[in-house]
């Protein structure tokens, strides 16, 4: 199955976002993407399960986490 990583603007927001998602019942873990995996160079992100993508994006937006994109790997 493909992986879903919601990229955010900083490592700090990745940690904050992962914790907010976990508290909201959405399993999430911090990850780091290399330049070859993104269009923006190295970036931090939060990996979630593909079915949780929509809910995760809504939750992060409500929390004021600056989302920069969604990367699908695999």
């Amino acid at each position: 199955m493909s992986r879903r990583i919601i990229t955010v603007s900083s490592p700090t927001y990745a940690t904050k976002g992962a914790r907010i998602l976990s508290k909201s019942g959405i399993p999430a873990r911090v990850t780091h993407l290399h330049a070859s995996q993104t269009l923006r160079g190295c970036t931090s992100g939060v990996e979630i399960r593909p079915p949780d993508e929509g809910r995760a994006l809504d939750t992060l937006s409500a929390a004021g986490i600056p989302v920069t994109g969604v990367v699908i790997l695999g």
């Binding site: 490592p11 700090t12 990745a14 780091h32 160079g41 931090s44």
Partner: protein
């Protein structure tokens, strides 16, 4: 040994601080934000934990608004240097530590800013009038101590913060001597940026400090002052204006930050009121005894509480007294304490002894200090 130099740095630290620093270096000392491997992620988690602890302790809701520095001096330089633009006017008190006085002087000498001063050792309304009458359309910020590092003077930060908010100017607080001792709430007290040392009242290690920015701080006004790698948008040459990483170039002191987190938790479990109560007891006892010594001059003896007390000998210099006390295993600090303007205001002559307390000091230690001082004065 008796350690009464806690205004310089607190000693000892709670055991959990040292333990966590060692654990970090042994178990999870990766470079946060640079990779996705387990050590980097765990380091990032530890750093975020400290941001969250500091945010909660100082009354903001955004951990990302906590920017780590090496100390209060680094924090103040980050804010002052980042805010100052050509033609800006800043207001400082006449008792500032060199960590405010020197960057202000440097920017003024370059012709970038103008600086006005207000009298700190005055009744509250006079302090506020002294600030308000100097505010101009070009005033960017008030930058001032909360508590002096040489005497028990404390400024009314909530009232100054309200005044700054009323006039739409920023308020930067040097909390080097008050963080962890006084109840400071960045939001409630209308503080724009609170500059704190990790290694004094927060009982963290040396090499730790932070700026606690208000939730609504206008980061568009704050230019980065240190440039380098931060694990964010590496392909771009611009550091950006997004906290915290835009203001944290280079590798963070992860073990120090992990230790600081434990220090803040130690304080949170105690409460600042308990800290003040303990230090007040020590202060009052020492003040009473010093004021009864005919060969001693105490500065600000009317202050009913404080974390430190400043005195000099009528016959002996402060430096000579401090040296003799050190020979007896009692650690104090003499001289100007990096705050020459405060010494001028107090009229110390430039050389006085500062005795400063922590929660780990005891009344028994103060009695031993007083006995030693009596012996020194007789020499």
């Amino acid at each position: 040994m008796i350690y009464f130099d806690n205004a310089a740095t607190t000693f000892p630290k709670p055991p959990a601080v040292t333990e966590e620093m060692v654990r970090c270096m042994r178990e999870y000392g990766g470079n946060a934000g640079r990779s996705g491997h387990v050590l980097a992620v765990r380091a990032a988690e530890a750093i975020y934990d400290c941001r969250a602890e500091l945010a909660a302790f100082f009354g903001i809701t955004k951990p990302e608004n906590v920017v780590f520095t090496a100390n209060t001096t680094g924090a103040l330089n980050l804010v002052i240097g980042g805010l100052a633009r050509y033609g800006d006017h800043f207001l400082i008190s006449d008792m500032e530590h060199n960590s405010v006085a020197r960057p202000m002087a440097a920017l003024r000498e370059k012709g970038v800013i103008t600086v006005g001063t207000f009298h700190a050792m005055a009744p509250e309304q006079e302090i506020l009038r002294g600030i308000e009458k100097q505010i101009t359309p070009y005033t960017k910020a008030v930058v001032a101590i909360h508590a002096s590092n040489v005497c028990p003077a404390v400024l009314p930060i909530r009232e100054i913060g309200a005044l700054c908010r009323k006039h739409g100017i920023l308020y930067v607080v040097d909390a080097a001597q008050s963080a962890g001792i006084y109840d400071i709430d960045v939001t409630r007290d209308h503080i724009s940026a609170l500059c704190v040392p990790g290694h004094k009242g927060l009982y963290g290690p040396q090499g730790s400090g932070a700026v606690i920015f208000a939730d609504d701080f206008p980061f568009s006004m704050l230019a980065p002052t240190v440039f380098g790698g931060n694990g964010v948008r590496s392909e771009e040459s611009d550091m950006g204006r997004e906290p915290p990483e835009s203001y944290e170039a280079g590798t963070l002191a992860t073990p120090g930050i992990a230790g600081l987190c434990r220090g803040v938790r130690f304080l949170s479990s105690l409460g600042t009121e308990a800290v003040r109560q303990k230090e007040r007891e020590l202060y009052r006892h020492v003040r009473e005894e010093l004021c009864n010594m005919p060969d001693v001059r105490v500065f600000m003896p009317w202050a009913e509480e404080g974390s430190l007390i400043l005195f000099t000998g009528k016959e002996k210099s402060g430096s000579a007294i401090a040296a003799s006390l050190a020979d007896r295993g009692i650690c104090t600090r003499a001289g100007l304490h990096c705050a020459p303007s405060a010494h001028r205001v107090l009229g110390t002559g430039g050389d006085a002894v500062r005795v400063s307390f922590s929660v780990f000091n005891t009344l028994a230690e103060t009695d031993r200090f007083l006995s030693a001082l009596r012996a020194v004065l007789k020499e």
